[in-house]
């Protein structure tokens, strides 16, 4: 087990304690329809408009499994190096909650779709940390509760709740990790890289804000070498930052309790991002008595070797492989290849720019630099960017050919973002463009040398600094658009010649 090099960071686990963390991740699949009925899965529709008797749990209805959901779940299992269970079935998980119309959730129990996988997580210091994947299973999502009447929209203080079943029955894949994670940083890296992987697999929108990617954590602390401590379950942290901060706060709380001689109670814990504090929600007593039994309304699923092989063959290039290829094919440094290889849309964009501009390193710098800065500043998705890969490569060609300086290219890029115009049009309209026309510049240089005999004489006498005076004059006459390298060359030739 590796430990992070930076132990001084806020919230790091002190050396005389060890945290043991396992994550449970729920991924909403972006199938067109729900897990067991034909209702659409679109997000943000008016409440209770994406429902039917099956997902509302009306008596006498029968679920039928969505074939695409099984395929997506199999992709996830394979990408995490799980063994795909040849004979798999659904179970009923029985409990009462208002967002669960049937009184049970259709899930999987002792025969999950995938078991025994792992994810190799690259840590901040570049080390690879292998996190085991216990299981990958299929289930259906619950409805959504809105707590009404209270000031906060939270359970506490609400008079009553409103139930919207649009989300109920949406296909979910639950991924359960082994308790192989030791620090909040590692947990965050794991989740980030799992998200990247899922993005490449094209099975989910993996949007934490919209809830298509959700993360719970099981966490306990112990003195190194001691048996496992009592764990608590940290629920629904809806961002990478909250996952990290929630874990830090909970680890802190547990260490504090144990150090002052109190016990850690098994509980569900909620992290409040506004206060940075954790609070115990409810005791887990009875919580595990779900009385699972095989779902009698669904027949078993048998995934033969040919099916699994076909899904495996259809897997796209995954982040680790893509990073390697970016290094080998484009000669990118490991860091650049890692950044571009882990973000599917950005990686695709980069490849198109690199191909068209004919300069991979320049393309990588721009995609990771100005282009990413623009995305971050505006929150625009790569696919919806105002400057597409063809437009950016046209700009980079102007830069590479010397028509534009780096500084000018940055300005043109800003204009392209704002106006959506191609680089060539912006350059023409703004009268930009570096003058690399040797004949035109030569005329100007000749004229300036003749008009300034004094400084010219000084330069010939060995005063190198005077060259700067002439460069300044050329830039003034050309409004800064002369190619500096060419100006230098021409001036030297004419002053000394």
């Amino acid at each position: 087990m590796s430990t992070p090099s930076d132990e001084s960071a806020a919230g790091a686990v002190p050396n005389d304690w060890e945290a043991v963390i396992g994550l449970e991740i729920h991924v909403q699949l972006h199938t067109k329809t729900k897990m067991f009925c034909g209702c659409p899965t679109s997000f943000g529709e008016a409440p209770n408009t994406q429902v039917c008797p099956i997902c509302l749990g009306h008596p006498g209805t029968l679920p039928v499994t969505n074939e695409r959901a099984v395929e997506y779940a199999t992709r996830i299992a394979l990408a995490l190096d799980c063994r795909v269970t040849a004979h798999t079935i659904f179970h009923r998980k029985n409990y009462f909650y208002p967002d669960l119309p049937k009184g049970y959730q259709i899930s999987q129990y002792d025969l999950p779709l995938g078991v025994g996988g792992h994810l190799n997580v690259e840590l901040e210091n570049g080390a690879i940390h292998r996190v085991g994947i216990t299981r990958v299973h299929m289930e259906e999502d619950a409805g959504k509760l809105v707590h009404a009447g209270g000031a906060s929209g939270r359970i506490e203080g609400a008079d009553h709740s409103l139930v919207d079943f649009n989300r109920g029955g949406t296909p979910l894949v639950e991924i359960v990790s082994e308790p192989d994670i030791r620090t909040p940083d590692q947990a965050r890296s794991f989740l980030t890289q799992l998200k990247n992987l899922l993005e490449h697999l094209d099975v989910s929108d993996v949007n934490m804000e919209e809830g298509s990617l959700r993360c719970d954590a099981n966490v306990s602390v112990r003195r190194p070498g001691e048996p496992l401590g009592t764990k608590t379950e940290l629920k629904n942290m809806n961002s990478f930052r909250f996952l990290q901060r929630g874990l830090e706060a909970e680890i802190e709380r547990q260490m504090g309790a144990l150090e002052s001689g109190r016990a850690v109670e098994q509980a569900t814990v909620h992290f409040d991002p506004s206060s940075g504090r954790v609070s115990t929600l409810r005791s887990k007593e009875e919580a595990h008595d779900y009385r699972y039994f095989p779902e009698p309304d669904l027949v078993p699923i048998q995934l033969d070797e040919a099916y699994v092989a076909a899904v495996r063959a259809s897997l796209p290039e995954l982040p680790a492989a893509r990073k390697e290829r970016f290094m080998a094919e484009y000669g990118l440094p490991a860091y650049d290849a890692g950044v571009l290889g882990s973000n599917r849309a950005l990686g695709d964009y980069f490849e198109q720019v690199a191909g068209a501009a004919g300069d991979a390193k320049l393309a990588a710098n721009w995609v990771m630099g100005d282009f990413s800065a623009y995305l971050n500043a505006t929150g625009v998705e790569v696919e919806a960017a105002a400057v597409g890969p063809a437009a950016l490569s046209d700009l980079l060609i102007l830069l590479r050919e010397g028509t534009l300086s780096s500084k000018m290219a940055k300005d043109v890029f800003q204009d392209m973002i704002e106006t959506g115009k191609p680089a060539s049009v912006v350059v023409r309209e703004r009268g930009l463009g570096q003058i690399s026309d040797t004949l035109a510049l030569e005329e100007l240089v000749k004229r300036l040398v003749l008009a300034n005999p004094g400084p010219a004489e000084e330069f010939r006498g060995g005063r190198e600094k005077v060259l700067g005076f002439f460069v300044g004059q050329v830039m003034k006459e050309t409004r800064g658009q002369a190619n500096p390298q060419l100006v230098n060359e021409l001036l030297r030739r004419h002053l000394l010649g």
Binding site: T31, K32, T33, C37, G38, C39, P40, A46, P47, N48, T49, Q50, V51, C52, P53, L56, V64, T65, N66, E67, R68, A69, V70, I89, N94, F96, Y97, P98, L145, V146, H147, A148, G149, I155, E156, A158, D159, H160, S161, L162, V163, D164, F165, R282, E286, D289, R291, P294, E295, P296, L298, V299, P300, I301, Q302
Partner: protein, 93 residues
Amino acid sequence: MISREEVEHIARLARLRFEDGEYERLAQELSKILDYVQTLGELDLTGLEPTAHAVALKNVFRADEPRPCLPREQAVANGPAVERGQFVVPRIG
């Protein structure tokens, strides 16, 4: 034999409440049912795979094609209380 405590536990999970005297009766009745099911244990099942299903079907799937949903008025029609197109439930917790 099912104990009174077990009946109470199951009743709590099922959100059922009984009169005091009923727990003993239910314990006996549930025990009888379980004993009856236990007769299955007399069968020799050597070499038989466990099955979760009585029908010999597998891989029944549906294509991922949307189908019409219920109109909202109909979807919430059976709700004892409805507010802004949503089911109203008592405060939780």
